[in-house]
Every structure is written in structure tokens, then in C-alpha cells.
Amino acid sequence: MRTLKKEYLLHLMLLPGVIVTLIYAYGPMAGLVMAFQQFEPLAGFFRSDFVGFDNFRYVFELPDFKQVLWNTIVISVFKMVLFLLVPLILALLLNEVTRRWFSRFIQSAIFLPFFLSWTVLGGVIIELFSLNGPVNGLLGALHMEPIMFMLDNNWFRGIVIGSDVWKGMGYNMIVMLAAITGIHATLYEAAEVDGAGRWKQMIHITLPGMAPILILLGVLSLGGILNAGFEQILIMYNPTVYEGADIIDTFVYRLGMFSQQFGPAAAVGFFKSVISLALVAVTYYAAYKYNNYRIF
């Protein structure tokens, strides 16, 4: 076999990607030194004073920080569980639909919000749950007092979780449906011969057949436990619900961009990146062990 001699061309092709990645991915990683600095924008990364772990100590002692960490974990754990459960139920129900056009139509409708931005969906949600919006209208029709959903910490958290599931559930549903299609038809035929009904077939064939993809989706989502949905919460929240819905990312954003406390903000970011990296490493290893899953 004759191979191409011009290997330098391959390096040349990679050059633009390497430059962009070096500047905008590795640059910020190097920029994490600011977490250990009394960072002054004018002095930059190179001339700001080093202060050791002062920024970390300062942030961890802030009264809000514990609450922020707690909010992040609560919101993302709820989201993680529902992102498995809801799509699973939808996929199983859709699997029982025999008319293809109907199944297709439902899938399309459920998948649609996935492609819309949080500005649009946030606007819709705020309108739906506003004081004279349709949800309160419905409560009024049932002779119930109106609820200030967007100003109540408990309700707001629920709305954040619910609306994210609404936006994203189509994705996992499609992946799960694909997994169901991959189950061999002969298994169902054999079950039918043995007299198993649809319910038994689901319990003993469909669900076990889906187990690998369920484990995979679950395990991979663990790496994002400190991502509770930055853009969503940023567009939907207001100072009244900081107590229940302020998460690490929104906290960092305000600390850095509004309070100009760059060092402490970067320290929180650093803390988050390191934990996420550890989780991703563990979960990818687990996914590889369980399912032979590799990205390359």
C-alpha cells in the first residue's frame, strides 16, 4: 500500500483548530491562577499578587455559599432522576403505539422544546405562571387563592426542575426509543409463544434490554451534578428566589461580573471544575466497564 508522504499537510490542517483551542480552552485553564491571586484586571494574570488559598477561604466562609451548593445539588439531582424516569415512561408508552404516524407526531411534539432557546422558553414559563397568567386563572376558576409562583422559593424550584425536564426530555426519549428498536424481535416472538402478555413482555424483555442504555445515561449524567442549568436559572430567577434557586454558576456570575470579585469568583469556578473532572473521570471509567462505552 502506498501511503501519502505529505504528513506536514496534516499538521497544517490541524493548525487553526490547535490555535483556537490553545487560546480559548487552554488559555482559561491557565487563567485559573487568578483563583490564587488578588486579581486586578489592569495588572492581569502576570502582575497580580498571589494570596495562596485566601480566595477559597473567603468564599467558603460566605454565608450564602453553603445554600448555593445545596441548591445546586438538590436541583440537579431532581433533574437527573426525572431525566431518566420521564423519558423512560414516554418511550415505553410510545413503544405500544402501533400507528407509526401517531407515534412520529407525538415524538416530534415532545422533542420540539429541546430546540428552542431558554429566552423563548423562559419567557413562556414566566407568562404561564405570572399573577394573572393562565395557571393562576385555572386556580381562580377552582376558587383558590392566586399563588406568586415566581416569587416563592419552593414553587420556583419546582418550576425550574419541571420546565427543564419539559425542554430536555425529548432527547433521552429518542435515545431510549432507539434502544428499544435494537431489541431482537425473536425475543418477543418467543415470549408470545410462551404466552406472555404485553405487560410481561415489557417487564421481562423491553426493560432488561434497555438496562445498558439506562445505566449509561444515568452514569454519564452524574458528571454534570454541579451543573444545575445556568442559562435557565439566569433568565428565570429574581432576587427574591436566590435562597432556593441560586446555583454555583449564577453565584459565580454575579460575584465576578457584578461585584468584580474576580479572584473569589474564579476560586469557586476552580472548585467546581475540579469536582466535575473527578466525577467525569470516575463515571466514564464506570461507563466503559459496564457498557464498553468510549467516546473515541
Partner: protein, 295 residues
């Protein structure tokens, strides 16, 4: 096939009803949004509008036609989508091609792969990234929305995996005919990869159209905002006023903003995607299942 039992028939009916209900619940919010934008402002503010416009009129859309901010940001969004998608796709192609070679063909493949892969798992985070974008002089330029994410590593990996499924014989035949790497990429790899390119391209286009936070972060002048960033300022300005305690105050506040116009703008922000979505959905689905379920 044998006849379905009664319980089976009952299940099918309930199932159809439940799924229809879920679908309806997903569609109603958008119908409601559209109805508000087509209603009279007084009816919209009083919360009388449900699924059908009350006091039907097109004023909001007429006013929208004269709204400078809306059209300006719409134009910025178009520029961003075209420019950003071109840059993203080009970088995906020329980066995925060398990395799709075997280690035998390209000695340094593995270090390069690691160089890119690490960025999928570790990042500097918001504040350091902002500082780098600032130091490279991109603040307040449309390039701030394009260059930091110019190479989407995930898409590049999808492309790379597709390139690897292309039969080696095609390439060997071309090499014997004297074709170099560029010709092989443009004349052989890309034409046979059209379905994958369509998927990645669509995700890229939708991503650029939908992004709004980078505009808030990197752009100082509102006249440079893309549409979604402009819309986000409309929504966030309501939120910041929402801290008032009494119901009366909130009601008064909600009335101040021009509800129908705001709603019309949000609806227009979603419209392009809703219009093309039914036709392109199969490409989206295809690309996803390629990425997540691997044999």
C-alpha cells in the same frame, strides 16, 4: 395475528389519550403565547387571554415592523449564524480529517487527540474565559460570539467517527491517481459524508441562533446584540422588577410593560425554528442516535 383482548383495547385507548394529553400540554404554551400577541393590550394585561385571542388585532406585529431594535438584532443573528456556522464547519472538517487517519498514516495522531479531548472534560470556567476573551480584544465584537467556540470538539469527534467508516479503498484509489490530502477531503470524504454534515450543520445553526448569554457577557453595546440576547434583556428586565412585595405592585408592574409587543417578539424568536423543525427533524434524530448509541 390473534384478536386483541378487551384489556389490551382499553390500554390502547388510555395510552392514546395520555400521550395526546402530554402533547397538548406541550403545545398549549405556544398557542397561548401566540394568542396574547394577537390580542388587545388591555385584554392581555388583564389576563383574559387563554387559547384564543381576545380583541383580535395585528397591532403588536405592525409595531414590531417598525421596531428598530428587533430588526437590528435579527440582522445580527443572521450574520452570526452564517459566519459562525461557516467557521465551525470548516474547523470541524479540517480538524477531523487528520485525526481520522490511523496512527500508521499520521504518527502524531494520538497526542493531538489528547490535546483536543482534554478540553471536553476540563475548562477554565466563566471568569477566566471572560478575561481571555477580553485580553484578545474581542469584547463588543461579533467575533467574541464565534471564535471562543470556533471548534466544537464534540461535533469534531462525530465527524471523525464518520470519516473512519469511509472505505479505505476510495482513498487508496485516489492516492494512486495522484490526489493529495486536500483533494481527498473535499472530493471524497465530504461528498460521502453529507448526511452527517447535515446533522452537525443543523445543530450548529440552531446553537448559534439560540445562544444569548455570550452576547450579554461579551457585548457592551445593545445595538450589537443578536436577537436572543435582545429578547433576554426584555425578559430579565421584568424579573429584576419582580422583587416588589405586594400583589398590587406586581400587577401594576406587569401592566407597565407592553405585553403584546413583548410576546410577539418572543414568538418571532421561536418562529424560524418551529417553521423548519418538522422538515429537518429526521436529521436531528439521526445525528443524536449516532452520537449516543454506539455499537
Amino acid at each position: 395475528m390473534h384478536k386483541p383482548t378487551i384489556s389490551r383495547r382499553l390500554f390502547v385507548i388510555t395510552n392514546t389519550l395520555v400521550l395526546s394529553l402530554i402533547t397538548l400540554l406541550g403545545i398549549i404554551p405556544f398557542v397561548h403565547l401566540l394568542s396574547i400577541s394577537l390580542s388587545s393590550n388591555t385584554a392581555a394585561m388583564a389576563g383574559e387571554v387563554r387559547l384564543w385571542p381576545v380583541g383580535f388585532n395585528l397591532d403588536a406585529y405592525r409595531y414590531l415592523g417598525e421596531k428598530v431594535e428587533f430588526f437590528r438584532s435579527f440582522r445580527v443573528s443572521l450574520t452570526r449564524v452564517v459566519l459562525g456556522t461557516a467557521v465551525n464547519m470548516l474547523l470541524v472538517f479540517i480538524t477531523a480529517y487528520p485525526l481520522s487517519k490511523s496512527n500508521h498514516q499520521f504518527k502524531f495522531r494520538t497526542p493531538y487527540v489528547w490535546f483536543f479531548a482534554i478540553t471536553m472534560f476540563f475548562g477554565g470556567g466563566l471568569i477566566p474565559t471572560y478575561m481571555v476573551v477580553k485580553n484578545t480584544g474581542l469584547i463588543d465584537s461579533v467575533w467574541a460570539l464565534i471564535l471562543p467556540g470556533a471548534l466544537n470538539v464534540w461535533n469534531m469527534v462525530l465527524m471523525l467517527n464518520f470519516f473512519r467508516t469511509i472505505p479505505k479503498e476510495l482513498e487508496e484509489a485516489a492516492t494512486i491517481d495522484g490526489a493529495g490530502h486536500w483533494r481527498i477531503l473535499w472530493r471524497i470524504y465530504l461528498p460521502v459524508s453529507l448526511p452527517s454534515i447535515a446533522t452537525i450543520g443543523l445543530f450548529t445553526i440552531v446553537g448559534h441562533w439560540n445562544s444569548w448569554f455570550d452576547g450579554i457577557l461579551y457585548l457592551n453595546s445593545p445595538e450589537k446584540y443578536p436577537l436572543q440576547t435582545y429578547l433576554s434583556t426584555l425578559i430579565m428586565s421584568i424579573n429584576s422588577q419582580m422583587t416588589s412585595i405586594s400583589i398590587e405592585q406586581i400587577k401594576a408592574m406587569e401592566n407597565l410593560s407592553e405585553k403584546t409587543l413583548r410576546t410577539a417578539q418572543i414568538f418571532m424568536g421561536a418562529l424560524p425554528i418551529m417553521v423548519v423543525y418538522p422538515f429537518l427533524q429526521k436529521y436531528f434524530v439521526k445525528g443524536m442516535t449516532v452520537g449516543s448509541v454506539k455499537e
